[in-house]
Symmetry: C2
Subunit: 421 residues, 2 copies
């Protein structure tokens, strides 16, 4: 076993886990329009420049800028309009000195033009601003302002140059990235296969949500909260069901589920004996096994962090709040890492004034669920206190207040950062 | 036509649109485990208390608190352990005065006990801390600290009381909400049907991403960026394809698509004549038609906001940056409103120092794409300048800097809020 720690702060714990995730999963090719939320497997370069031809950003006239030199309202430049650029077609009109062509927003600039004057800065010689439809060529216009070379023109490659790297490998695709790829005709994209994440619930007292609980029994919550977070991070949850607190049963179920998946999560129960069993099971699955017996946070200290053959293996506390917060802290980044994501997505934050005092212990990162309320004094963060066994503390919260490692607590009225769920 | 405005600031424009969305879509019942991101159709109340029985939050002994009164290391209380509560079963053991029962974390508290002492605060009379497995009853323990009534006990209903409203109607379900419902055995949930959002691209110059562009043509981007945002907001995009700049063709396509959907979005081209055509088409679809001919923002001023028979209808600018930003500003909230969401999800923000000056015009809300970079001075927001025709300004950005309505601009080094994508 290369490294062994008892309890580490979250950042170090995450780094330790990352060092033992060796594999980025294999790539697969999918249609780009289906790729939102997926992660690029390779860097992607532009197969052609964008735009591919010079385009007008305005309704107006394509012209030679030199022909408008010195033009003003009192001394307009007179130009002869000899044609119109049709949308969606190549601009075939050739402009001689003193000539212009009607062009619409997005239309192609003729080869012999180098600028566009907005229609609002011209008038026809009859004195009317042009109604673009139905003019007969040639006709004359007055240009009321000088135009610079390149004005109102999108140049070839101004959006993307030919061969430029448009997206790196390990990038989580967003709607604008999908749009950017499709603009270049890249209708297929190589993305990392979605990580399959096995989820086991354990405990003699745990039953499925479908079952009727008798006194002493509780329904499985963690399999579903973890599955929801797995999906949000681009993974595929594989629910392994509920295993009783029996070493052989747990060992078999864990080994089988890990063999079919890329990552294993056990919601392990919080009793010491059950936790010890989870530690033994993870160690028995393969090398290196358990890396860390706990994390210096509340809630969630008893989280077991491990890895087996490059696959992350987590033993979460049984109570639902700790399980969710800890999975978000370790499981979600691990799913991104399995997809080759190097830069974790930034968490949304809001700043708010704290609604009441919060106590904390030095040497531990605390996460306190909080509800956000708009008030006359701005946004308030109201802590939702409750034991970490209470799932409804999270249901009633909009996010978590983080109390840093060595801060004793927070006072009402202080500004705090709330990490949105 | 009840109201008519030319250009409004975004907040007022959104309110105007909301007043014309009359319908919350019908409900449907789905399995709770599939409900992440869906919106509750009705308020949901707890069918039973949670927890349903008193549970221990620690490994230790269930006891009567009064029996530990005054106990300390030097003067421990002696208790007789007469049984063990088995996980997942009702606690049937009856405790007399001076008696205790082994209980594990999550185990049921016997009716005759009122508190739990942690195992770490006890020792067996032989001097050993108890190994919980395999003891023979009765045996004696010393309790080294007094325990208060209720200590280490989750009370019945401490998480949720019987009959309490656990979620209001119009709530967007998150993983913890799904967990909370399943904890109560609520395996089916009534959610609002996903809004179907029709998307039409228009323009003689627009081709599909699969086609090879000849000079003058560009590939459709907006259908796909808008579709991605529709899905993120819980809607179902219905792509209506590309329609040429022909009034009759656009009118027919728009009417057909609106009839099959709950909302219509036209990516309308930015040329004045094309925009005018979009206005006429929307007015022709039904009452009230166009509500607003523009929004006081950049990019995106030429956005057309309308409604027909309670369905939102938007005419987006043709250029991809304006289209995305405007759809995010009006289309996304409209999709939530169709699902009955009253309180829009809070946007994630980060604070960063501005990397360079940004100019702006008073009387307009500006949105500037920005890239976030960690630096020695903290997080930097680097504006990604570029004409709003350039999709790669959004590809290269992590979010948008908002410059408020009446602020002339921003200076390098100022703190700015970046709204994450």
């Amino acid at each position: 076993m290369p490294e062994f720690f008892n309890v580490l702060p979250p950042d170090e714990a995450r780094e330790l886990l990352f060092r033992h995730i060796t594999a980025v999963l294999p790539a697969e090719t999918i249609h780009t329009s289906q790729a939102n939320g997926r992660v690029t497997a390779v860097a992607i370069t532009a197969p052609h420049a964008l735009p591919q031809f010079r385009r007008s950003t305005m309704d107006g006239y394509a012209l030679r800028a030199a022909d408008t030199f010195g033009a003003s309202e009192s001394l307009p430049a007179f130009l002869q309009v000899v044609g119109e650029v049709t949308m969606g077609q190549a601009a075939t009109v050739e402009l001689g000195v003193g000539q212009a062509a009607i062009v619409h927003t997005g239309g192609m600039i003729p080869a012999t033009a180098d600028a566009v004057v907005q229609i609002e800065q011209t008038q026809t010689v009859s004195g009317e601003r042009l109604s673009v439809i139905g003019e007969r060529f040639p006709f004359e216009i007055e240009v009321l302002r000088a135009v610079a070379v390149g004005q109102n023109v999108l140049q070839v490659g101004e959006d993307v140059r030919l061969g430029a790297e448009i997206l790196p490998a390990g990038h989580i695709l967003r709607p604008q990235d999908v749009g950017g790829l499709l603009a270049l005709g890249l209708t297929a994209v190589s993305v990392v296969r979605r990580p399959r994440v096995g989820i086991l619930a354990t405990g003699d007292e745990v039953i499925t949500p479908e079952e009727t609980a008798v006194p002493g029994q509780i329904r499985d919550v963690n399999s579903y909260t973890v599955a929801g977070l797995v999906e949000q991070a681009g993974g595929v949850p594989v629910l392994g069901g509920i295993v009783p607190d029996d070493f052989a049963a747990l060992e078999t179920a864990a080994a089988n589920l890990l063999a079919q998946t890329d990552m294993l999560v056990m919601s392990a129960g919080s009793s010491v004996s059950v936790r010890d069993m989870t530690v033994q099971v993870i160690d028995g699955l393969g090398e290196p096994g358990v890396l860390l017996h706990g994390v210096a946070t509340r809630p969630g200290k008893p989280t077991i962090v491990g890895a087996v053959g490059g696959k992350p293996v987590l033993g979460l506390p049984g109570n639902p709040v700790s399980a969710m917060i800890q999975f978000d802290m370790f499981g979600v980044p691990a799913i991104y890492r399995l997809q080759g994501v190097q830069k974790m997505p930034r968490r949304g934050l809001v700043w708010a004034r704290l609604g009441q005092n919060i106590a904390s212990e030095s040497g531990r990162e605390d996460y306190v669920p909080a509800r956000l309320e708009d008030s006359a004094d701005g946004l308030l963060a109201i802590p939702v206190f409750g034991k970490s066994n209470l799932i409804y503390t999270l249901v009633n919260a909009d996010g978590l207040i983080k109390i840093p490692l060595n801060k004793g607590g927070l006072l009402a009225g202080e500004w705090v950062e709330v990490r949105l769920f």
